[in-house]
Amino acid sequence: MIKIKNVSKKFGNFTAIEDINIDVKKGTIFGIIGENGAGKTTLIQCMTGIYKPDQGQITINDGHVYENPKVKERIGYVADQNQYFPFFKVREMVEFYKRTYPTFSTDKFNEYNSIFKLDEDQRVRQLSKGMQMRLSLMLNLAINPDVLILDEPTSGLDAIAKKQMLDILLNEVADNQLTIFISSHHLGELERICDEIAIINKGKITYKSALDEMKENVKKLQVVFDGEPALDLKSWKEIKSIEKVGRVHYIITQEYSKDLEARLYKEGAKFIEYIDLSLEEIFIYTSEEGADDN
C-alpha cells in the first residue's frame, strides 16, 4: 500500500530525513514516534506530495505521489496545524473539498459532524485549534481515502474528542480497510491503535517493528552478577544501555531472547528478571539521548 524506499530530504545543508525505508500494509495503522525536529513532519510532507524527496521514492497504491493528482486524490492529510483558508466558512471548506475530491461524501461529513458539532457558518479563523483539527479530520475522512496520513492529530483535543477521534479511526480501518499513517507525541494513544511502530531520531529510523514484536524484543533486564562480569557487556550488539545501581545491573536490550539470558548466565549472572516496557519507555530507551541518559 505505502512503500517508502531509501527516502532522504535535505533543506540546504540540514538533512531532515535520511535513507528512510517503510512498508505499510493495507488496512493497518502505522505509527511514527520521534522527538521534536526528528523528521516526522518532513517524512509526512514527502508522503503527501508536498515535498519532493531528494533521493528515493514514495509510492502509494503503486503510484508515485509527487505531482501525481490521481494518487493524491486517494490520500487524506490531517496536519498538525490549521492549513485551511482563514476567511472561508466551514461550509465553504466543505464545498472546496467537494469540488476537489471526486469521492467526497457530504453525507459522511454530516454524519461525523453530528458527533463533533461544528457550526458550518463559522469562519475557519474563528475555530479553536481543536475545532480546526476536527474539521480537518472530518473533511479528510469524508473524501473516503485509501490512505489517511495524520500528523499529531490529537494535539488540541480534549479527552472526549480524542477518544471519539481514535474510535472513528479504528472503525474506519475495520469497516473500510483504511490504511493509516500517524505521528503522535501521545504514545499511549499509538500503543492503543497501532499495528506497527517506527521510531525516528535525527532523521533516521532507529527502530521499526510490529508493536507486539517490539514489546517482545525491547525489554529491561534486572541482572545480579556474582562480582563483575568478565566481558564488556556494552559491546554486545543486543545491549542498548547498562546502568548499575548497587549490585543490580539494569540492562536495556532491543533483541531480547533466551539465548541472551543464557549468555548472561555464562558471564556470571546469578539472577535475571525481565520487565515489560510501555511504548513510552521503549521510545525513551531506544532513542539515542534517552539511552545515554539511562
Binding site: F11, G37, G39, Q45, G49, K70, E73, Q83, F85
Partner: protein, 366 residues
C-alpha cells in the same frame, strides 16, 4: 467547465472584487469623458466661439478624450495588476496553507494556468464592460459629433473602430504586464519579492541602455550611440497604449522630438504583446512545475535566477549610484570619476543584494 474548478472557485472569490474595482475606475473614466464631451457640445452651441478654432482644436476629440482618460485609468490599474499577481501566489507560499495547497491533487502547471485564467477574467470583464460603455456613449453622442465634423476624413480618424483598437491595445498591454508578472512569480519563491523584481525588470533594460550610454559617453568623453538604440526606446514607447513623445537621434548630430501615436505600428505592437502573453504563460507554467514547496518563502527558487538577479541588480545599482552622485553632488566629471563611482556603487549594490538574499525565509522543518 473551468469555473467549477476548485482552485478557480477559490481564487475568484477574492479576485472578483478587484474586477469590480477596475470596472469602477473605468466608470470614473467615462464620467470624465462624458463631462468633456458635454463641454465641447456646449462650446459648439455657443455662437460666440470661433468655430474654425474650435474645429482645429477638437479634431478627433472623442479619440483624444478617450486616449487620455484611458492612459490615466491604466496608471491606476497597473498597481492593481501588481497586487493581483502577488495575491494569487500568497496562499501557495504561506506556511501551513502552502503545505495544504501542496498536498491537494493538482499539478503545479495546472495551478499556474488557473491563476492566469483568474487574472485573465479579472482583467477581461472590466474591459468588456468598458467596450460596451464606449459603444453606448459614442452612439449617444455621435449625431452632433458627425454633424460638427462634416468632413468624412476626420470622421474616419475618430471612428469607433479606432477607439476600439486603442482599447484592445490597452487591454493587451495590461494582460501582457500581468502575464509577465505571473511568470516572474514562477521564478522566485517569495511573492512580494517576485513582484518587486517583476516591476523593476520591466524598466531595467531601458534604464541600463539609456543610462549606460550616457555614462559611457562621459567616460570616453564623446557621444556614444549604438545601432538600434532609438528603436529600443521606441519599442518601450510603442507598448504604451497612448500617444507619447520620445527623443531620437536624427543622424545629423542633434536630437529631435518625435510623437508616437497609439495607432502607429498597431499590428506590430499587438503581435509583440500577444507574444509576451503566450511566452509568459508557457515559460511560467513550465518553471512553476519545477517549483518546490520546500523553498517557499525564500526569494530564490532557481540558482540561475539568483545569478541573473545579482548581475542585474549590480549593474543597475552601479549606474544608479553613478548617476545619483553626479546629479546630486558634482556636475562636471571626468572618466576616472565615472569609473570610481561606478565601481563603488556596484560593490555597494553587490553587498546589498547579498544581504537581501541572506534574509532567512522558507519552511520550518520538523
Amino acid at each position: 467547465m473551468i469555473t467549477k474548478h476548485p482552485l478557480f472557485w477559490k481564487e475568484w472569490k477574492n479576485s472578483k472584487w478587484w474586477s469590480v474595482l477596475i470596472t469602477g475606475i473605468f466608470l470614473v473614466m467615462f464620467l470624465a469623458i462624458n463631462s468633456k464631451l458635454e463641454n465641447i457640445q456646449r462650446l459648439i452651441n455657443d455662437v460666440d466661439i470661433n468655430s474654425n478654432r474650435l474645429y482645429l482644436e477638437s479634431i478627433t476629440f472623442f479619440e483624444g478624450s478617450f486616449s487620455n482618460a484611458l492612459l490615466v485609468a491604466t496608471l491606476f490599474i497597473i498597481p492593481i495588476v501588481v497586487i493581483i499577481s502577488t495575491l494569487l501566489f500568497r496562499n501557495d507560499r504561506k506556511g501551513n496553507i502552502g503545505e495544504f495547497m501542496g498536498a491537494l491533487p493538482f499539478t503545479k502547471g495546472e495551478q499556474f494556468k488557473i491563476k492566469w485564467l483568474v487574472g485573465f477574467l479579472t482583467l477581461t470583464i472590466p474591459f468588456l464592460i468598458t467596450s460596451i460603455l464606449t459603444v453606448l456613449i459614442r452612439t449617444a453622442n455621435w449625431k452632433w459629433i458627425s454633424d460638427f465634423y462634416q468632413e468624412s476624413r476626420v470622421v474616419e480618424h475618430d471612428s469607433l473602430l479606432v477607439i476600439m483598437l486603442i482599447l484592445f491595445q490597452a487591454y493587451l498591454f495590461i494582460m501582457a504586464f500581468f502575464s509577465f508578472l505571473l511568470m516572474i512569480q514562477s521564478l522566485y519563491a517569495n511573492n512580494i519579492g517576485a513582484s518587486i523584481i517583476g516591476v523593476i525588470s520591466l524598466f531595467a533594460p531601458w534604464f541600463i541602455v539609456e543610462t549606460g550610454l550616457v555614462t559611457l559617453s562621459r567616460i570616453l568623453n564623446r557621444d556614444i550611440r549604438i545601432l538600434g538604440h532609438e528603436r529600443f526606446t521606441l519599442f518601450y514607447s510603442l507598448m504604451a497604449p497612448a500617444r507619447d513623445s520620445i527623443v531620437v537621434n536624427n543622424g545629423r548630430g542633434y536630437d529631435i522630438h518625435m510623437s508616437i501615436f497609439a495607432s502607429q505600428y498597431y499590428w506590430l505592437k499587438i503581435a509583440v504583446l500577444f507574444l509576451i502573453i503566450i511566452l509568459s504563460l508557457y515559460l511560467g507554467s513550465k518553471s512553476y512545475s519545477k517549483n518546490e514547496n520546500s523553498k517557499n518563502g525564500q526569494l530564490i527558487m532557481f540558482e540561475w535566477a539568483r545569478i541573473l538577479l545579482v548581475i542585474g541588480f549590480v549593474i543597475c545599482a552601479s549606474l544608479l549610484g553613478n548617476t545619483g552622485i553626479r546629479v546630486l553632488f558634482i556636475r562636471e566629471t571626468n572618466g576616472i570619476f565615472e569609473i570610481i563611482t561606478l565601481l563603488i556603487s556596484g560593490i555597494a549594490g553587490y553587498k546589498l543584494i547579498n544581504k537581501i538574499l541572506s534574509i532567512p525565509g522558507g519552511v520550518k522543518y520538523d
